[in-house]
Point group: C2
Chain length 341, copies 2
């Protein structure tokens, strides 16, 4: 790999279904230079690979869509190469919206989702991008602040072997709840119960999710943490407990569909059982991140939370790596390693 | 009408679609007698006629279904005829779950939804069963405690010329919001804007609700108070503002369906726009009823809230009167007068 060019993936057209390399251009460009005060140039080391990035490519949502011609938006961890900022020195590890490219020029005016921030000392990039990153915080705030779980409650999470789902189940257990995970295939199911301590796993590929939820939750589901949407959301709504909460975190089943899928007809149970269904994004809770990190760090060091990352290598694999989330290929947090730290 | 018998409507079979008299038996029975301490015998004067009573006839919901053979469950206002309770004297006006019958024996053990309570002095039955009754309180707590409206927000309510809807729009205006009502037919629409002070009405019979909401709410709907479910709920979800709230109060369009209607596919906007959709019942807020009554009484006396009741007469018309809600025949709070006060 040459170190004098910036390879970057730019969006060429709005993708339909799974990504194709031809939805993008992958070209070599000059490495950008810090000019304004506050500019920093960052060498990308790891990119975070998240389902929501697929939405950003397709349409405006809680963030504007990536404009055609722009570098694909993605969070990541990198190393500062040059700095016009008193807050960052060359060699610092930082996280921020680096994008699918070797070098990112971060400027004060373009800090869209999260401002670039230094990694806490001693935290490796893989951990910063998973347990202590957007996915871990999403699980934490979603389950505790939106779902408001209480000890002894029954928590069901879909996408349970994914980056956010694995954290939801483990946080539920750490909080004294019963955790049921829905995942695809016997290996993922065995992993979440055997390694992560979920009470039960439901394999949506071989089991009737609706029937299993009915059987496993005779008193209903207190909190359903939804990562997938579609029929599984509807099945969970059918078993919602009185005053049950549905935390809407994702709808991965829908993101690659060009037609809008049917709605959850069992939404009516929100009315009948005084339930609540609520969406959120983690940036709503920026003011409480320190409290979350402190709790998560405690659970990691006491062994209550285990982490798993699924690392692909090579910037050229970016589209294929994002597709892994939509074919259920990943277990744990999906990362793409772009360069050695 | 004979005063020595108790005419009562008992449920004969679970109804499908609009009610038929043959879904019930209407018979003359002996007037029950207070026996246990605390028993009171109440002469029914007015029955409250509410969409939720249709659910009670069909299936278990937030309350158990009315058992086959039981008197049809309904709230109402009556006059105490005999009393074994130190809290009630003959002649007192009380409200409680009287049921579709001339005389109700209320006992401590059978106070299912709301315990019988004396009407506040000077409040006539029509007002006690509308503005200050379940429908007024439902509008109040739904809009303010579930919807958490703030001054300047845009509120949309369906069933806007019905008992709860008319209150929602007027409370929204009293709180400094913009109120848009969805109702059926030009008369109802003219009434809610001309008399009740809604800013705009949408006639769902002659207008494209989705297109009108899009046009009227360029910054989105902050609170949608849903009384109808179905396509109108979906249209409102499509225009939900960032952090918008959907208050689920009813789904009148669905109650008479034997097949479950499609779900709201635009629920996805709860995720994309960090929205919240929540059901409730008024009994969740029993502890705050005094505060609500005080606010409502203030708005009534200052003219900010106007009331309208739609009174049918005669216990024999009970099923036909309940049907009026499902054919949009009523304007304002539907009551059935059973006897003169």
């Amino acid at each position: 790999m040459r170190s004098d060019v910036n390879r970057c993936w730019r969006l060429a057209s709005r993708p339909v279904g799974l990504l194709k390399d031809s939805d993008f251009t992958f070209s070599e460009e000059p490495i950008p230079e810090p000019k304004a005060d506050g500019d920093i140039l960052v060498r990308t080391l790891y990119l975070s690979v998240d389902p929501t990035q697929r939405i950003w490519l397709a349409r405006d949502s809680y963030m504007p869509a990536v404009p055609i011609g722009d570098v694909v938006r993605a969070g990541g961890v990198g190393k500062v190469v040059r700095s016009n900022s008193p807050d960052f020195a060359p060699g610092d590890l930082v996280q921020g919206l680096l994008g699918w490219q070797d070098y990112a020029l971060l400027t004060a005016g373009k800090r869209e989702l999260l401002p670039a921030s230094k990694l806490p000392p001693g935290i490796p990039p893989e951990l910063a991008l998973s347990v202590f990153g957007v996915t871990g915080l999403t699980a934490y705030f979603g389950l505790l602040h939106i779902g408001r779980v209480k000890e002894g409650e029954t928590v069901v999470v879909s996408g349970a072997a994914g980056a956010t789902g694995m954290m939801v189940g483990q946080i539920a257990k750490a909080k004294g709840c019963r955790a049921i995970g829905i995942a695809g295939g016997p290996e993922k199911c065995a992993w979440i119960t055997g390694e992560l301590g979920f009470d039960t796993a439901i394999d949506y590929r071989s089991e009737d999710v609706a029937a299993r939820l009915r059987e496993l939750c005779p008193s209903g589901i207190d909190v359903y943490f939804d990562n997938v949407g579609g029929a599984i959301l509807d099945a969970a709504l059918a078993e919602l407990a009185m005053r049950g909460r549905v935390v809407l975190c994702g709808a991965i089943g829908d993101y690659t569909e060009s037609e809008q899928p049917p709605g959850p007809k069992n939404y009516i149970n929100l009315l009948m059982r005084r339930g609540r269904m609520e969406g959120f994004i983690v940036t709503d809770f920026l003011g409480q991140v320190n409290e979350a990190i402190s709790d998560l760090a405690g659970w990691v060091s006491s062994g209550k939370i285990k982490n798993r990352v699924d690392v692909q290598e090579g910037l050229e694999k970016a589209p294929a790596t994002l597709n892994r989330l939509f074919t259920s290929a990943n277990t744990g947090k999906q990362l793409l390693k772009v360069a050695d730290p």
